[in-house]
Subunit: 124 residues, 2 copies
DNA sequence: TCCATATGTCGAGACTAATCGACATATTGG
DNA sequence: CCAATATGTCGATTAGTCTCGACATATGGA
């Protein structure tokens, strides 16, 4: 991922309404939500929301698809992967010793089901 | 990590000079660099740089320590972990099936060799 | 075709961020 | 204490962002 694209993504997420939109679309993966419903859900005027959605779209964090009269927005999952990778690469560039525990930290959220179930059982 | 703190971090990194500073400090871990040297390295007036460093500091991405006449800035590694974790948790919240390959993607950068892991464990 | 629905675009006002000269503060050595 | 060095703060200017009313465009049904 290039710096320029990363900056667009950081700027897009550095705004409360847009961060909320992104999280909302993550929750609604993989179906997505129409623009109007997003606006209603977050109590923002439709034209204001349209601007925010355009910024998220230019940043590559969401994608839009027309479906009859509605336009369905979806979170772009590999954009999250790219942005996270950008951070991790910066972090690990020459410093792999601090990166391993970083990845280990994600395991509870990302681990394959078997391990996740075992970890959960331990805490119970 | 709270949304408010994440927004501060995203905003801090959404500016070319500040992103450069952050990457520069990552390269110079764990020694850090004095403010003046950072400004000289990136060809930015010292007072402008001072403002940028303050913003990075408020965002929790760097820390400062006075050392004689100079003030040494260092990247805060666990801030990267927190911010990355914020993204990944958002991504994996209810969607662990898309998260496993995401973590696998990091392996090449993180070199999960036993020696590296043990060394990291010692420091923690 | 005409209307209702869904969304996008434009433009103005208010607000916030970025930059840098000038000045202020902190530290050290003489 | 004074001068030199290193950094931070203030204030003004410029540039960019956020918001939303008004208008424009696209789609589907009567």
């Amino acid at each position: 991922m290039e710096s320029e694209q990363a900056i667009l993504a950081f700027a897009a997420l550095a705004q409360p309404t847009r961060l909320d939109v992104f999280r909302l679309l993550m929750e609604h993966e993989p179906d997505g939500l129409p623009a109007g419903e997003i606006a209603r859900h977050l109590a923002v005027p439709h034209n204001t929301m349209s601007t925010h959605l355009a910024i998220l779209s230019r940043a590559g964090l969401v994608e839009a698809e027309r479906q009859s009269r509605s336009i369905i927005y979806r979170a772009k999952l590999h954009a999250v992967r790219d942005l996270t990778g950008f951070l991790v690469k910066d972090c690990c560039g020459g410093h792999p010793e601090i990166c391993a525990p970083l990845v280990a930290e994600f395991s509870p959220y990302c681990a394959p089901k078997k391990i996740a179930v075992r970890e959960a059982a331990k805490h119970e």
